[in-house]
Assembly symmetry: C2
Homo-oligomer: 199 residues x 2
């Protein structure tokens, strides 16, 4: 019916699979790309092909890097004995943006979810146990999301690491910086009150 | 600061230039691409490179196609003598989705805008005059957006085509199909009332 050439149609369809883009906004994005064929479309296609070719999961921690070992694992200054366990590469990037953590990471690749058949072996939990045993880890920091799935996974990891004798900590819960009590949910206020500190 | 490899950072930056994506959602999109490297990222990069290479503006009408003449201009069944003038390829696609128009198009590539130094020669207006003179056009349908810029451009085109003797029409204005009066702006209701028809 429509007279959009086939390869443009296919491009729109692929773009529409990205999060935040539906069929309509994918079409709009492709039209912008078509207008800026030289300045944006060609470089974007090249950058994407390049990353698709070079990006690899770090065999140690699961972070994404250019080789078999990611830049963080390869950096000797980060061998502090602290291991920060995160769900996803997105969470690792968020921690790194903060710049407060100087140790290494372990990316689980998701959370435990029996209903979706995601067990410990689907995630990188066996690898985590091996690293704790081999790398002289003194503290495992559980930086999992404060969701039901995240916290279930945190409890499971704390359980299986219990015998190893390593210190297990988790991120503090409380009022976010700049947060207004009026806009916070009851759970957060409750957690912040429970964990109150001497001023 | 952050430990995102350089080429991924560059990919995020390019993605963020697409409409509807900001730095945050571009990062999220790239993370999804990284997770689906084989199933989505590689095909998307290839489709984009392919379109960047093959897409060309039709030398006749300005539509985007795979060669020098687009599929619509090349289709002999569409030589009906009716020429539909649109602002942009997006508008041409919108008309084609409707499927109601069987003639050919002329894509201006924008609207007149003296402030932005967009005059008739920047748009495809000289080419339009030439086509009307050469192609045996009987009717020019102005399907420009119902905005101030669109309507200014429509008036200009009607002016310069006046001497050619071709019939000049424009899309009807009124209540959209399924539209509720309560949600329509005053201008639309006024236009619909003015153009009322015997029931």
């Amino acid at each position: 019916m429509t007279d959009i050439p086939g390869d443009i149609e296919q491009l729109i369809e692929l773009m529409a699979r990205l999060p935040g883009l539906g069929p309509r906004s994918a079409r709009r994005a492709v039209l912008v790309l078509l207008k800026k064929r030289g300045a944006l479309m060609a470089p974007l296609a090249q950058a994407m092909a390049q990353v698709a070719l070079s990006a690899r999961d770090c065999t140690t921690c699961g972070n994404i890097g250019a080789g078999d070992t990611c830049a963080i694992c390869a950096d000797p200054r980060r061998a502090t004995g602290e291991l920060c366990v995160v769900e996803d590469v997105a969470d690792l990037w968020a921690m790194e943006r903060g710049g407060a953590f100087k140790g290494r990471y372990h990316v689980l690749g998701g959370t435990l979810s029996p209903l979706d058949a995601v067990g410990p072996d689907t995630l990188r939990i066996p690898r985590l146990l091996a690293r704790v045993a081999e790398e002289g880890i003194s503290e495992v920091i559980l930086a999992l999301n404060a969701t039901v799935d995240g916290q279930t996974t945190a409890h499971y990891i704390a359980d299986v690491l219990g015998a190893s004798g390593v210190a297990i900590t988790s991120l503090a819960q409380g009022v976010p910086i700049g947060g207004e009590l009026d806009y916070l949910d009851d759970g957060t206020i409750g957690a912040a009150l429970k964990a109150r500190k001497r001023f």
